[in-house]
Symmetry: C2
Subunit: 230 residues, 2 copies
Amino acid sequence: MRAEEIPEISSLPLFATMQPEVRDEIFGSAFLQVFPPQLTMIETGGRADFLHILIDGLVELFTVDGSREVTMQLVRPVSSFILAAAYTDQHYLMSARTLTASRILLIPSQLLRGAIARDGALAAAAMTELAMRYRNIVRSLTDMKMRQTLERLANFLLLEHTRLDGAVQFQLPAEKRVIASLLGMTAENLSRACSTLAGHGAIVSGPTVQIVDRTALEALARPDPVVDRH
Amino acid sequence: MRAEEIPEISSLPLFATMQPEVRDEIFGSAFLQVFPPQLTMIETGGRADFLHILIDGLVELFTVDGSREVTMQLVRPVSSFILAAAYTDQHYLMSARTLTASRILLIPSQLLRGAIARDGALAAAAMTELAMRYRNIVRSLTDMKMRQTLERLANFLLLEHTRLDGAVQFQLPAEKRVIASLLGMTAENLSRACSTLAGHGAIVSGPTVQIVDRTALEALARPDPVVDRH
DNA sequence: CGAACCCTTGATGGCGATCAAACGCCGTGG
DNA sequence: CCACGGCGTTTGATCGCCATCAAGGGTTCG
């Protein structure tokens, strides 16, 4: 990996507090791989031989059932994914593919487990990371069970809006079909829902979003102060 | 807690491998509490001051949105719950109530965090526990997004059937209204779905279930060999 | 320039929610 | 002991959200 990126990766919550010598050992055996867009690098049911860390690009986690697939989560840089499978040495529950060209750091699972066993600070960080991801999925499940599609879209846009520090205008992070699947709806319905939001403070035209009235959007989305605090 | 139960709790995966002296310290400061049925002991948004371990009884985890609530998970003995919130010292994402009279062991979160920091084996066990729960929620979310209600019910019954070592007849673990909410459907629809299953190898009459043709039920449920392996 | 592919828009249908009512069970109190 | 009321479950009727099917427009890429 590029020399200037080592500090950036080291400063990830997962690696920030660990012992430097253990970190050097892990990074020494890790390797960076560059993937083109639309490449499935992990398949459901496979073995989790590596912890993946997305350095750059965009990754989609999804599940497959027969011929149908559903997006579960978008992974943005810089963050790790499939930590749970890597740590417990089990099969992947989700597949992963790149949405854009991506650079991904691969850390052998076995090495990671060894390091966690030896380094208490790393163990704590991994635990925190996993706990955060757990809580995020609980949020997704809640969202799915409690809200209908329009509300989910509205909440999604509110979240993006917040993530981007309240920028009035921004781009959707992925193709609409992917967003639709992530939100548990069809592309057709997402399109209609986007039009509907024009009357509720959000104008979505193609891939660009304008938040013109956050209050109105919140009135529709009714974000939960506890569940939706990220 | 009763003397004869200490070995049972100690043999939980979470506590089995830790150092005996740390375990004694934790258990020394833990206390057992008895709750009547239908008592909400944890409210969404509250602080996670204790790790809870259900020794005996049945607990429902659920979320509240305005006036509506949704069941997220059933907790059966003996197992811990809300580990993620307790470890990260954050607010509860879910509420918890007893469904039957229950005995619950309460371990101060702060004490737990300290013990995890000192005891690598406990840290590893906690990590595994959390990873397992993470994977279970991923399964729930997949189930929710990919299947419709009848399939979800069928899969639920298959899971119960397996859990009970293939017993031909068994009781539903909770009231149907709770099961319905857990499966993301209304009580009315669950009732109809139960009748429908009579033609697919499962006879549900009131709270009792008979699996008369598992193959037929599986044909309807189409369980995923990866996702549904628990 | 053509062929995918994505997005959009419209028409239709079905799954499941909602509303409504009756039944059975069980506790309480007369 | 029985009457009553409450609650969970069941069954029926209806509604609405959203999926599906279908077709057209726009963009990208070979």
